[in-house]
């Protein structure tokens, strides 16, 4: 029994071993430490002091900025994830036409995702959307007077949603692979029956792509909850203006590294983990109603 288990799984674990080593040696300790710290008051200089659930209690009952951070983050996730996935799927379908230079296009479209997490792009974004930025100059050509997108709390979050949309590269690649996996003869049959393109999309492409969509959805949701560097740079690290860019992670960072509340910041981190976990669980639980795998027999 055990022998069989080893024989079957050993290669997998061997390939996983670099990651597993890293996890056990580098990540697990801090993770457990942060769970402990979340029940303490800890300013990094004096020793942690046990306070029980006080951090969590303060968070849910008295901390207005905690709720504000949740609001900002949820709004962002709700907008950025669908926007990015729609963008990724559209571009993937365009590229799926069997172009000869597809490798080149794939690389070009993937580029923003590679750059997206970088500081340089966040700074570029800030300049694009500034009062005298490129966006407003283009709008001015059409006689539209632009807003101060970044410093206006009503629009600042949307500039980040657009940034997220632009970084569609990695879900696009996965969609592209998924599209390649759909048997061509299904479309041919549909053509012969005279099915319009739109129905081909909703009746063939979407259902057969469902597992891939599901995978991308889960991955992108997790990613979006963790958005940090772009919000941090664009808001000067504060969540400004008027906390409109107070992403959960930015708030967490400020609590930890600006105000020295490591215990409280750890509690925030665990709440974020639970939220992400809950969303992933919901996605998995509902998936049986809309995701069908090809080798499923029912």
């Amino acid at each position: 029994m055990i022998k069989r288990f080893i024989a079957r799984n050993a290669p997998g674990y061997i390939f996983l071993s670099p990651w597993l080593l890293g996890f056990f040696l580098l990540a697990l300790g801090p993770i457990l430490a942060s769970l402990y710290l979340s029940f303490t008051k800890y300013d990094m200089v004096s020793d942690p002091r046990w306070v029980g659930f006080a951090n969590y209690e303060y968070m849910f009952t008295r901390d207005r900025r905690f709720w504000k951070a949740l609001e900002v983050t949820f709004t962002y996730v709700a907008l950025a994830v669908p926007a990015r996935l729609i963008m990724a799927l559209s571009v993937a379908m365009l590229l799926d036409k069997g172009l000869r230079t597809i490798g080149l296009y794939r690389a070009i479209f993937y580029l923003p995702s590679l750059l997206g997490a970088s500081i340089a792009i966040a700074i570029l974004w800030r300049q694009l959307f500034e009062q005298n930025g490129v966006v407003n100059q283009v709008l001015a050509v059409f006689g539209i007077e632009g807003l101060a997108w970044i410093t206006n709390p009503d629009t600042s979050l949307y500039t980040l949603v657009i940034l997220a949309m632009w970084q569609f590269g990695s879900p696009m690649l996965i969609f592209l692979a998924g599209l390649r996996g759909i048997p061509r003869d299904l479309y041919e049959a549909a053509e012969i029956d005279g099915t319009p393109k739109w129905r081909q999309f909703t009746r063939i492409t979407l259902p057969l792509l469902a597992p891939v969509i599901f995978f991308n959805l889960v991955l992108q949701t997790i990613e979006s909850f963790k958005t940090f560097s772009s919000a941090f740079i664009i808001s000067n690290g504060t969540g400004a203006p008027a906390d409109s860019l107070l992403f959960f992670t930015v708030y967490l960072f400020n609590e930890a590294f600006k105000f020295f509340r490591m215990g409280y910041a750890s509690a925030l981190a665990w709440v974020l983990l639970l939220i992400i976990g809950a969303f992933t669980a919901i996605a998995f639980l509902t998936s049986k109603y809309w995701v069908h795998y090809e080798n499923e027999r029912d």
Partner: protein, 427 residues
Amino acid sequence: MTKLTRRGLLGTAAAGFAASALTGLPAYAQAKTIRHYWWGNPERDKRTFAVIDVFQKANPTIKVSGETIGWGDYWTKMATQTAGRNMADLVQMDYRYLFEYVRRGALKPLDEYVGKSLMIQDFDKGPISGGMVDGKLYALNIGSNSQVIVHNTRVFKEAGIDADLINWTWDDFAKASEQITQKTGGKVKGSDDLSLMIEVFESWTRQNGHEFYDKDGNVAATVDDVASYWQFWEDLRKKDVVRPKEKTVILDIPIVESGVAVGDTAMSHFWSNQLVGIQAAAKDKIGAAMVPHKKGGKPGQFIKPSMFMSLSRDAKDTDAAMAYMNAWVTDPEITKILGLERGIPASPKVRAALQPGLNDVEKLSVAYFDAIQTKVGDLPLPAPKGAGEVRDAFMRIGTDVVLGRAKAKDAATQFVDDAQAIVERAR
């Protein structure tokens, strides 16, 4: 405090590894290396690196590595390094943050070095005592300063502003702003919008007769103080004589983006030791005015120790660090390079030596300093723990008022509540 923890060891090893990987040299190549960390601007950085060169030439066994960053990121990086037990040996300190860092145990007292390796016995007592916490000296004054309303002298002349800029009132300030905006056809607005400057607000509160914090560290500024301050700027915004709100809500902008440097306003708020830096960035000749007074009010502005140098808990080679610190405030060549850029020195000898070689801006800063001596109030009590966060809250809530999303009165109520909650939570 120097107990070697496993985490500390790991951190040092990691930092050392990173450092040697970066430079390609083994980390132990230099016997004595001290790190000096300061917030700066291009002019200050140039002078500080020049000082480091001079010091290293005179002390070939000591290598000084300078680290600099703008004010906006300075405290975040400092906090991170404090947490990682990787603070620079010598750090630049601010009066507002001094007490927080001392109470966290991040700084070492300097008393044992005074008269031995730190020769400051003949320095002015006032500026030196500003660096004391609970009876011990934790921070060496490397310059005093005060707030200043920097103005564009060309625009002031063209607009015919003839107010007495040392004794003027808030009414005079408002009138001048209107006059400038009108005379320049709106091309140059009267002033930057100082709604989010908690330091100016602190002067405003003191003019009303009470401190921002009382002696127990509670918030003593009232809702009326805050509301009237924000309302004052709201009125100027309505008249369109201050910088547009989009530029106001960008927090902690660098000197070069201030109104006077860019040229889109005629007045900006600074600290007197920044005069050298701002003149370097501005096209026109600048002048110095006091923060306006309240008619019949008390003095609000004060002279504060502008910058300190502190010895960090993580300093290993304290002898080398103290030699550097001492040279900073006593060595004739070094003090000459530094000049008045960080503020007015506390050493009478150094001041006397500097006098003949001063340039125009430096003369302006000395003259301004002389002129305000009798107009300022006492140094306020040390700020309680959490003061840095209160500053953030002031800017955050003030932003709502600037953008017209909240009434001055409501926002003021919220700010006073939040500020009190912050200092209570920080205890």
